[in-house]
Symmetry: C2
Subunit: 267 residues, 2 copies
């Protein structure tokens, strides 16, 4: 009897985690995935730790019921607040975006001055700050939330004058502080990479946690994934609300259309 | 035995409804209020009708348990999707923001060309469009969602170049269409009134549904409110998540600080 296909579960509060899913599909094309966007309760970034933990547990359980054997928490806020709890309570490997992003930032920096941008919840949690200091205690860190970046990405306003003016307002302090590495601590932000780069300058390393987390998943899966063709991989999409809006907006994040998005209840 | 004090319940998905509460406090200073911000599940504007109805029922029940005798649904999305259901199932008067706003728009327009801006959910629902057409079938209506206005208001970026550029992008089509009346169909938008006015010009009437709904409440209460001093009025604030953030941001909406915000569970 053949082993059931290995599936990675990816969850996020909404569409943002699709930037992580996209990286996974590109870098590990043979893996099957189940994506869960908790669109009924998006955004997590403004919510309290207790609430986010409760939601994250419900999402993780649903994905495990659907047969995933490895869980990627592709939401910075959920990673910041709920990862320890998930690791303790679940029997499958759980990978968040914070630690891989922090490790990549520490590898990238030359001058030890690192900037972090993310949702209000992620920044307030101090999770990136702690993770970076765990790898390099001497790192100098500055951080701030950038709440307008998420709706900019979702509107598709990713270049031109408006996103540039907003990015300048948010990022000028980072430039003045001399950061040489900036962590894009929210899964929406990679869509704004070029405008962020145009403000920060090309010498500043932008850390995309989607890339960093995929590297970790890839390492874990090296020995476990059967060798098989890309077209053997299956990708499922689940949301807790408004599948049609999700399908519409997902193309912007994923670069291709999704055929089917299923509604699920995790209340 | 004296009658228990009359209290108006006001609910919104978050802080936006405070623009309605503020109007109530100014125009009917003798009335006590209980405000409920469903901050655990904000925003409603991106969620489906079924989900918003479920949330609205839970919020309304909680406020009735707290003794309110009249309910203001100070959220355009909840008014659009859930008002009929609430009116049918609750035994107290329920007032939404859509109908008063629509009536005010029809009174204000000279040329019959009316613009509506709001969240994606409110615009998609067609509720303002229907309400305006019920009052004036010949009205010409154009509408669009303006998702960046909410984070702009919450960030406090309410004047200067960035909000102006964003407002221009959203509103130029309305100017070109010759609207003489624009409905601010989201309770956050009154904070951006001056920037919206600077783009639309002073001859365009901006309809603030907070003012319109307060007028209706005032009419209902005329005969029911005991004559008493302003300082007899009590104001309570309840939220379903993150009371501290609510308290911080509420000052921007209310114009004064709130002493106490209580957490409640309506799950």
């Amino acid at each position: 009897m053949s082993e059931p296909p290995f599936a990675v579960g990816v969850f996020d509060s909404g569409v943002g985690g699709l930037t992580v899913l996209k990286q996974l599909m590109v870098q590990i094309p043979s893996v099957s995935t189940v994506y869960l966007g908790d669109t009924a309760r998006v955004p997590y970034g403004t919510k309290s730790a207790d609430t986010v933990i409760r939601y994250a547990i419900a999402c993780a359980r649903l994905l495990i019921e659907r047969g995933v054997q490895l869980l990627v928490v592709a939401c910075n806020t959920a990673s910041a607040f709920a990862l320890d709890h998930l690791k303790k309570t679940l029997s499958i490997p759980v990978i968040g975006v914070i630690e891989p992003g922090a490790r990549a930032a520490v590898s990238a920096t030359q001058n030890g001055i690192i900037g972090i941008i993310g949702t209000a919840g992620t920044i307030r949690s101090g999770a990136y700050q702690d993770a970076i200091h765990a790898f390099r205690p001497s790192a100098e860190i500055i951080s701030r939330p950038c709440p307008l970046f998420v709706p900019l990405a979702e509107e598709g306003w990713i270049d031109g004058e408006i996103p540039r003016a907003i990015a300048k307002t948010y990022l000028d302090d980072f430039k003045d502080a001399g950061v040489d590495t900036l962590v894009l601590g929210c899964t929406h932000y990679p869509l704004l990479k070029s405008v962020i780069e145009s403000v920060m300058g090309k010498t500043v390393a932008l850390i995309d946690s989607a890339e960093a987390v995929t590297q970790v998943v890839s390492e874990i899966l090296t020995d476990r994934l059967p060798v098989r063709k890309r077209d053997a991989a299956r990708h499922r999409y689940l949301v807790t609300d408004a599948p049609d809006s999700f399908r519409e907006i997902s193309e912007r994040f994923l670069g291709h259309a999704i055929d089917e998005v299923d509604w699920v209840d995790v209340a």
